[in-house]
Amino acid sequence: MTATREAQAEEIVADNNRGVIRSITRAQATQIVLVLLGMMVLFTIINPDAFLSVFNFRSIIVNASIFIILGVGVTFVIVTAGIDLSIGSVLVFASVMSALVMESLGTEGWAIAAVGAVVAVLAGALWGLINGFLIAKANVPAFIVTLGTMGMALGISQVITGGIDLYNVPEVLVDTVGFGDIVWQIPTLAVIALVIAVLGGILLHKTKFGLYTYALGSNMEASRRIGIRVDKQLIWVYIVSGVCAGIGGYLSLALYQQTTIAGNSLTNLAVIAGVVIGGTSLFGGVGTIFGTVIGLLIPVTLRQGFVISGVQAFWQEVVVGIFLIGAVYIDGVRRARARRSSGKNPKPMAIGGLTIGSTRKEGNSE
């Protein structure tokens, strides 16, 4: 008896390795890397001198950096089957608050820049807390809550500034972070984005916090019954998203040397599109930070590639739209296949707390 049990245990361990390989090859993130590489090859063939230039790659990563930081936070939210539409407005709010505080302190110098960074992060965290609290405690669907705070954060920013952008950004910040390079042609902004993506990846994929994020998106009711503090976890997930938007706001001050009050009305949708293209499922439980980074590089690379190829850059929106729909279609096919293979009890489809499919209420069966 004991011998067979040990044999079985060994068999179990051997089986695992196959599982890991399969999950890597099947991951949408792997496929999307191929898409990105394919695009790069194509643009290189069309115009090798321009596309393969250091200047070009530098533009791509600078333009993608802030989106990637926002995308890290949004990945956490979407993995829980939630949505955060407020990130663009929170970015604006954080940059306005940060600029105002820095201005009142005298604008110049590293100390003031550091205070500005703290203010931006706290401003982002505050909106994340509001979002999370309303979603987790007041049970208002995430779609509605973040649609509401999207308007509120932008509205308050406009009220405070009268709708006029602020230009008081410390020069040291603009020179080192906005335009600066860490070494050679590696932009500081890109390094910051990379660090945040790596930290986000570790948090999501390696820690208990990340595991619970997946558990919520996978089966909220089971997570609750198992004893996970679902409310607390949800609130923290939205705070992560808010903090990322706050950091994004601060960096956009550095990059553009001003607030961008009118310039972020579509940021939320661009970031969500990139995250979804990167393989994160709107139905929750699935997603990687790596996929998000790639998914957000694709629109930027496309735009840059079209410009270089002499194609009107407006086509980028069209192609991104196709990718987005394609990504969700593939996810849907995969989910349907999983449902068929595992039989009964399909999970109700809920995006951002809005139930789409049929829901079976727990506990009413008897």
Partner: protein
């Protein structure tokens, strides 16, 4: 099994539910229901569909609230306000819907909410000892007869029987006082069913109170020490499994004969 190490009185039920009432709108699911769980004993909870079995289990495991009634655990009144309360008391439950996270692998599901942290500073940041959890899970599944093979495959990709095995192994691994199983063998084949029933006996022999819901009377008579029958939201009969028969159980379930006065 002479003395219990926690010093509680011998012969006292582990858990007593008295006069539990629970309604869903117009439907009265439980109408003053009583229930007892004894240590080291397998209790079958039977009744027709809609008798209130699942609701009773959900209330005793903290996932549903009761409107009236009282629950005593080891002689003391307790409020099962959440599943965590029950878990802290050493009560585990296998729900009818299994309560698994389909995107997570069996190891993650087994340890969900109870992850083992890495030693040292990494653990403070929430890093987990995956190797240890994997090895222990592997043992737990092997205990059940190894129907769960691949530990890295999402539970959602597994067969119904494998999913059920994961849920049962989870409850059996953590329960140290009571384990509730709501139709634990419903999706299982013959061999796996026997494995679960053997597991139930092993868990009982550790001194744990086992309560299971089943519609299979041969299963009930084969494994249970006691049988408690629910009908229309009340306990209508309690039998020693050795002294009862299929006919008697069916009679109590359908109301053909009533033992406890209604």
């Amino acid at each position: 099994m002479d003395a219990r190490d926690d010093g509680s009185e011998i012969g006292m039920p582990l858990l007593e539910a008295r006069g539990i009432v629970r309604t869903y709108g117009q439907v009265v699911a439980l109408d003053g229901c009583d229930f007892d769980v004894e240590p080291g004993e397998v209790t079958a909870l039977i009744g027709d569909n809609g008798a209130g079995k699942s609701t009773l289990i959900k209330i005793m495991s903290g996932t549903e609230e009761m409107e009236e009634g009282q629950i005593r655990f080891m002689g003391e009144d307790v409020t099962m306000s959440s599943p965590s309360v029950a878990r802290d008391l050493g009560i585990e439950t296998v729900f009818q819907d299994l309560a698994l996270c389909p995107h997570l692998d069996p190891v993650r599901n087994l340890y969900l909410g109870r992850e083992v942290r890495k030693r040292g500073p990494l653990g403070w940041f929430g890093f987990m000892d995956n190797k240890m959890m994997r090895e222990k899970s592997s043992d737990a599944f092997a205990d059940l007869g190894a129907t769960v093979r691949a530990l890295s495959v999402p539970v959602g990709d597994m067969s119904g029987g494998q999913k059920q095995s994961v849920a049962v192994a989870r409850a059996a691994s953590w329960a140290n006082k009571i384990i509730f199983l709501d139709e634990p063998t419903a999706a299982l084949g013959v061999v796996q069913t026997q494995n679960v029933l053997d597991l139930i006996k092993r868990v009982r022999d550790k001194g744990i109170g086992v309560v299971f819901i089943s519609h299979s009377m041969p299963e009930v008579l084969g494994v249970a020490d006691r049988v408690q029958v629910l009908r229309r939201g009340r306990r209508v009969a309690t039998y020693q499994a050795a002294d009862t028969s299929l006919e008697e159980l069916v009679g109590a379930m359908t109301g053909a004969l009533d033992e406890e006065a209604v």
